[in-house]
């Protein structure tokens, strides 16, 4: 467990109550050249979880204590997202539905087909790496957004709605000059070079244009 909060290195979390299976998964992941952490129970994993990094969780369904599906739900509650691969000895429809609804990347019967798990883990890592990057970007944008004053936020709203400075000034009952200053500050704080980029950032942040 060498992870720190600032660690961007992808990792595969392995949660299985069978020691031999854990060892095997670790060996497989090691062959991928990817870091891994193995836990014998969901509880142990949650206790040791140290923060978001690009990750793929490989968990068994039937375990002592918390099951793999419960773990999945717990992570959703905590707002922790990562790729999840659910392994099960017997895939039943209810188990499958529940796992997929919880956002599992895939549910595999074990023993799995050759390469299937390998590919799934790699796929899961790739997806989460992208998700992680998006998340990272979004949090940067969010920080930038938080640095805006309320007035500037209002101006941003109207800017991405496509209003001209004149219209904004009239709507906010300010001088055009004042609006222009705000605009400058918004571009600066959001580190955007163009209105188009600013709009893209707003979409990424989920800011819906306020179409009054």
């Amino acid at each position: 467990m060498s992870s720190t909060s600032a660690n961007d290195e992808p990792i595969v979390y392995i949660v299985d109550d069978d020691e031999q299976v854990r060892k095997a998964l670790v060996a497989l992941v090691q062959a991928m050249g990817v870091a891994s952490e193995a836990y014998s129970s969901a509880e142990e994993f949650l206790q040791m979880f140290s923060g978001r990094r690009p990750a793929c969780l490989v968990t068994d369904v039937r375990m002592l204590g918390m099951s793999g599906l419960e773990l999945q739900e717990r992570l959703l509650q905590l707002g922790v997202s990562m790729s999840v691969i659910v392994l099960t000895a017997f895939a039943t429809t209810p188990t499958t539905v529940r796992a997929m609804r919880n956002g599992a990347l895939t549910l595999m019967e074990k023993p799995s087909n050759d390469e299937e798990l390998w590919n799934a883990i790699r796929g899961g890592l790739a997806i989460d790496r992208r998700n992680y990057e998006l998340e990272q970007q979004r949090s940067v944008l969010k920080e930038r957004l938080e640095s805006l004053t309320p007035k500037e936020k209002e101006v941003l709203q109207l800017m991405i709605a496509g209003d001209a400075n004149k219209v904004i000034a009239r709507k906010l009952d300010c001088s055009i000059r004042t609006i222009e200053n705000h605009r400058q500050k918004v571009f600066h704080k959001m580190e955007a070079d163009s209105l188009a980029e600013l709009v893209r950032m707003a979409v990424a942040l989920g800011i819906v244009p306020n179409l009054v």
Partner: protein
């Protein structure tokens, strides 16, 4: 009679009797004795002079009772004396009484007297004495006769049959008063068809023919009309001139006696008949017994136990006929041969081991093994083998008693088969409940193996020494995983096997661990903490491994269930073993809910269950299994919490190598 009552003593001077039979006397007209012949002195003891002049009536007592005796007509001596005489009694000089018979005649006055009388006095004292004596005898006799009682009566009758005397006792015999039948002809008392009638009719003819004594039995009519059987003894009395004048006899009632005798004879006859019958029955029973004995003997001879003696190496030194017959070989053929080759290979070494274990302290062992008979068929034998030792404890040979128990085995086998079937069904049911957990258990190592295989391949693809080393490690793990899978499957298989039960020497610790392994997933799922407290010094038990497993698996699962309501971290099951003399005790102690049953042994009853949807066969099968193993199972509530199940199984005599 008055004579004896007055106590008069009569005596006659014997010497004088002949010459002094009488004297002459004369009495004058005044009544005085005027003359007495001198012979008077011989009779009365007084000289004549002494009596002369005395009053005649003073000397002669005519009123004396002795005199009156003579007047009785029935007396025999009556005939001797004429009736014109009279009796007088005179006192002798010595005081004794003398009875005189006086024959007198009056003297007519004139000549030389003046009237009066003269007479001759005969001394009849001896006759009177005799008569009195006779009378006394008769009195005695009469008293005797009259006093006769019971069955005897005395009678007399005339030749014509007319009864002249019957003793009063006749009343008791025939119901008549004597006076009622005196004067009757006795023949009238005998009916025409009565027994003895002919004899009675014969009597007269017989008397005339000279028969002098009769004894016969005759039936006589009783006053009531009943018949009495009378025994008659009679004797005819003849007059001096030989004329038959009287019959006197004794009648004895022998009805009762005869009846008794007949009864006795009848009883005796009956008894004899009964004895005869019993004897016949006994003989019959004896015959039957003999028959069944001979049949039994033939059965015994055919089926009896085999007896043989033999030396080391199984060489027969003695064989009984039964064994010869069974073996279909002669004694000669068997002696010198060995039985060991007959025992099938699978059983032979065990039998040899059993025999080798015999000591003077433990000289006998029973053995059941299979033997090929002369036709090559497999037969089960049961033998009790005894090693014979001499005083020094040296082995001198063996003696064995045995029998063919094949048929018994067949039945036993059938029962056992059913039991085995039930046990197996129960195991399968348990297995059904365990199966998803066990599948998980199987999948784990399989899954691991597959992952290791892929990891190995990836590493090999990457080349480089480190990767190859990792790949090699992976293959090692693959082997482990496969072994683990194989182990689980083997356990599974053996647990559900349909194979006949197989007893072998087992290490109880291994069995317990195996049960723990089978239940590993269940244990995990139930969250139970197992504590094994097993004795390291492990004696072997002789048992069927699968059945032992079945018991433990069942108990474990019971315990898990009992603890299901415990707090998650408070589920403890302690499995311990200990030895108590020759027994091994395995205890499973949980801290679960226990049972509310007062009688915890009821848990082992078939169909007793507290769990809905269960048959309740599990624990009852455990009990059956224990019984098969000469073991006992107990269940008890712990003093604090939970229950303890215990298995008490004998330690195998032979410790495991």
């Amino acid at each position: 009679m008055s004579v004896s009552e007055k106590n008069c003593e009569l005596s006659v001077p014997e010497s004088d009797l002949c010459q002094s039979v009488c004297f002459y006397y004369r009495v004058d007209e005044t009544g005085n004795l005027s003359y007495l012949s001198p012979s008077v002195e011989g009779i009365l003891g007084f000289p004549a002079s002494k009596l002369l002049g005395k009053l005649y009536s003073d000397v002669f007592d005519f009123e004396h009772s002795l005199g009156s005796l003579l007047s009785k007509p029935e007396h025999v001596y009556q005939k001797t004396f004429t009736s014109n005489s009279r009796c007088a009694v005179v006192q002798h000089e010595n005081g004794e009484l003398v009875v005189l018979d006086l024959h007198e005649r009056p003297l007519h006055p004139g000549e030389d007297n003046s009237g009066g009388l003269e007479g001759v006095a005969y001394n009849i004292t001896p006759y009177v004495t005799a008569a009195v004596k006779l009378s006394e005898g008769e009195q005695k006799y009469r008293r005797l006769v009259e006093g006769l009682g019971g069955d005897y009566a005395i009678y007399t009758h005339l030749p014509n049959g007319e009864l002249t005397y019957v003793s009063p006792s006749v009343k008791e015999i025939l119901g008549y008063e004597p006076r009622e039948i005196i004067g009757l002809n006795w023949r009238e008392l005998i009916g025409e068809d009565f027994v003895g009638r002919e004899t009675a009719d014969q009597v007269l003819a017989d008397v005339q023919a000279g028969v002098r004594f009769y004894k016969f039995s005759v039936e006589v009519a009783h006053a009531s009309g009943a018949k009495r059987l009378i025994e008659i003894q009679q004797r005819p009395i003849f007059s001096p001139d030989g004329e038959y004048v009287l019959m006197e006899g004794i009648a004895k009632d022998i009805t009762e006696t005869t009846r008794n005798a007949e009864e006795i004879r009848r009883l005796k006859d009956e008894l004899e008949e009964r004895v005869f019958q019993r004897t016949r029955e006994l003989r019959l029973i004896n015959d039957q017994l003999a028959e069944s004995e001979s049949r039994y003997r033939s059965v015994v001879e055919d089926q009896t136990e085999f007896i043989c003696r033999w030396n080391e190496g199984g060489i027969y030194t003695f064989v009984n006929q039964a064994y010869c017959r069974y073996m279909n070989q002669s004694e000669k053929q068997l002696l010198g041969a060995s039985f060991l080759p007959n025992i099938i290979d699978e059983d032979r070494s065990r039998v040899l081991d059993e025999i080798a274990g015999l000591t003077p302290q433990v000289p006998t062992v029973t053995s059941e093994h299979r033997v090929r008979d002369s036709e090559g068929n497999l037969r089960w034998h049961h033998w009790t083998n005894r090693a014979l030792f001499d005083e020094d404890g040296t082995l001198t040979g063996y003696q064995s008693v045995g029998r063919d128990i094949t048929d018994l085995k067949l039945v036993e086998d059938l029962v056992q088969e059913r039991e085995e079937h039930l046990k197996r069904v129960s195991r399968l049911a348990t297995m059904g409940e365990l199966i998803s957990g066990i599948a998980h258990e199987i999948h784990q190592p399989l899954h691991a193996a597959q992952l290791f295989a892929e990891a190995a391949r990836r590493n090999l693809e990457m080349e480089g020494a480190a990767n190859i080393a990792t790949a090699i490690d992976c293959t090692r793990e693959i082997t482990n995983s496969i072994s683990r899978t194989a182990t689980i499957i083997r356990q599974l298989h053996s647990f559900t096997t349909n194979k006949p039960s197989k007893f072998e020497y087992l290490d109880i610790n291994e069995v317990i661990r195996e049960a723990v392994a089978i239940l590993s997933y269940e244990t995990k799922k139930a969250g139970v903490k197992l504590h094994l407290a097993l004795q390291q010094r492990s004696h072997a038990i002789y048992a069927d491994r699968v059945q032992m497993l079945q018991v433990f698996v069942d108990w474990f699962r019971n315990a898990f269930e009992a603890m299901s309501d415990n707090e998650p971290d408070d589920k403890h099951l302690v499995i311990s073993t200990r030895y108590d003399r020759k027994e091994l005790i395995v205890e499973l102690c949980d801290n679960g809910a226990g049972t509310e049953l007062e009688n915890t042994e009821r848990l082992f009853d078939a169909f007793y269950t507290t769990k809905p949807g269960r048959l309740g066969m599990g624990l009852s099968i455990c009990k059956t299994i224990a019984e098969t193993h000469h073991s006992k199972v107990h269940a008890r509530n712990n003093p604090g919490r939970g229950m303890t199940f215990a298995l008490q199984i004998p330690v195998a005599e032979r410790t495991k190598q």
